[in-house]
Point group: C2
Chain length 261, copies 2
């Protein structure tokens, strides 16, 4: 198949694809090692608003994965790149653990951006009014991602999305969303590889597969993590392939490399 | 003119129309007395999320207006009527001063509604997540009004609207907005008078005049309070009449009553 013969890069989601909490998905460690034995470029891409690259790297290493820190590209890192590129001086709605990624990009004065992640302690009227006034003065609104809610131990809890929407509505500003499924996110993760020369493997049919395919990549949907029956029919075009797990996606990629060699 | 000959009721906005802060608009007290000398039914209608009917009545009486407490119909009172009619047991995002209007309608258990007014101290992630979970369980979302922001001494501050939008987005619920310009608000204020037999006088071209006219009333736009040049061209159909102030609106109403008698 044409796209495989020139395949250069594989993007891989983390939570739900390589592991679920502290459990590795079936044969995922071995599968990643097999993928390493090809000459494909590998990047791990994830939407997180809470954990720095270092923390994610630590967790994955503990689980037994052979991963380098700079192979991890997150929505926080995408925000950091944007802050750097545009020399922004943001007000951050982020947890301390996430702020690690923004070392060297903290400012007290001349704030000209608002970065919204998940920061329950910071989401209150005072801080949001402060952010609103910054937006009225022309500050840029950046959303790590716009998830409506997330699963917490005691039930569903508000994600960053509702607070992004609140500020958009109040200020008439539109947020730049830097995480999946934004095209810019995948572009940045691919670095200089063309989307048609890359595949994405993930458990989220919209954010992983739909987002990647919108850019011209091919998407593998894995039936682990947040996958639910029938998810593969929820996007158009459908996922390139729907497989049981990450290991099967790797099998398929490697066998097609061999086919075309 | 046809509508005047059967005119039965006059709805009057408070802040910006009868007074601005502690200042009465030109000849407003005398004008109200002149209006009292007709047999027109008078109601005072206002969007407030902060002040009970008793507090508003006290303030207006102090300014010299001859007003009865039960002639005042507010967005808080409209919410109270809805809570009563539908036997709701709400979680309230309201200031203590506003809660006066909800005496007898407070519940601790089996909460089945969320009422959003302006309550800076209560707008935080914890409370909003609590409200979000109630909405997921089928609670009704009620917004006193959906203003984006308001003028506070130190600048513009977030109103209830952004928090209503946040909860709508998170839960996929649509809020019932009970204040102006909602048709239901004017209907309730009119009691049993037909909209075509009533006029509205106010300084807000959209919330007062536009809202009233959408229901079939005729609207007087006064050039006091929040009126800004050219406001009368911002709605279609335009205000029935645009006048300098409340007193002129009363003159016009009375003279037309005489014309048609």
């Amino acid at each position: 198949m044409a796209f495989r013969s020139n395949l250069k890069s594989v993007l891989i989601d983390l939570s739900g694809t390589l592991h679920i909490e502290n459990e590795v998905t079936p044969n995922a460690i071995e599968a990643l090692n097999r993928l390493r034995s090809t000459n494909l470029k590998i990047k791990f891409v994830t939407n997180t608003t809470k954990e720095s690259r270092r923390i994610l790297h630590e967790r994955l290493t503990k689980l037994g994965f052979d991963i380098k820190q700079d192979e991890i590209f997150t929505s926080l890192w995408a925000a950091r790149d944007l802050v750097k590129k545009e020399s922004l001086r943001p007000m951050y709605f982020l947890d301390d653990a996430a702020m690690e990624d923004f070392e060297g990009f903290k400012s007290e004065d001349n704030i000209n951006a608002v970065v919204i992640g998940l920061a329950p302690d910071k989401f209150n009227w005072n801080n949001l009014t402060k952010a609103f006034r910054l937006l009225l003065n022309g500050a840029k609104l950046i959303a790590i991602h716009a998830a409506r809610y997330y699963k917490s131990p005691d039930g569903l809890s508000l994600g960053p999305g509702p607070f992004v929407k609140a500020l958009e509505y109040a200020s008439g500003t539109e947020a730049s969303i830097v995480g999946k499924p934004a095209s810019n996110f995948f572009c940045a993760a691919l670095d200089k590889v063309k989307p048609t020369e890359a595949v994405m493997i993930g458990d989220d049919v919209r954010d992983d597969v739909g987002g990647a395919q919108a850019l011209g990549m091919k998407g593998y949907l894995v039936k682990t993590g947040k996958y639910r029956d029938n998810d593969e029919n929820k996007i158009d075009p459908a996922p390139y392939k729907t497989v049981n797990n990450f290991s099967e996606a790797v099998d398929d990629i490697i066998s097609s490399l061999n086919d075309s060699s």
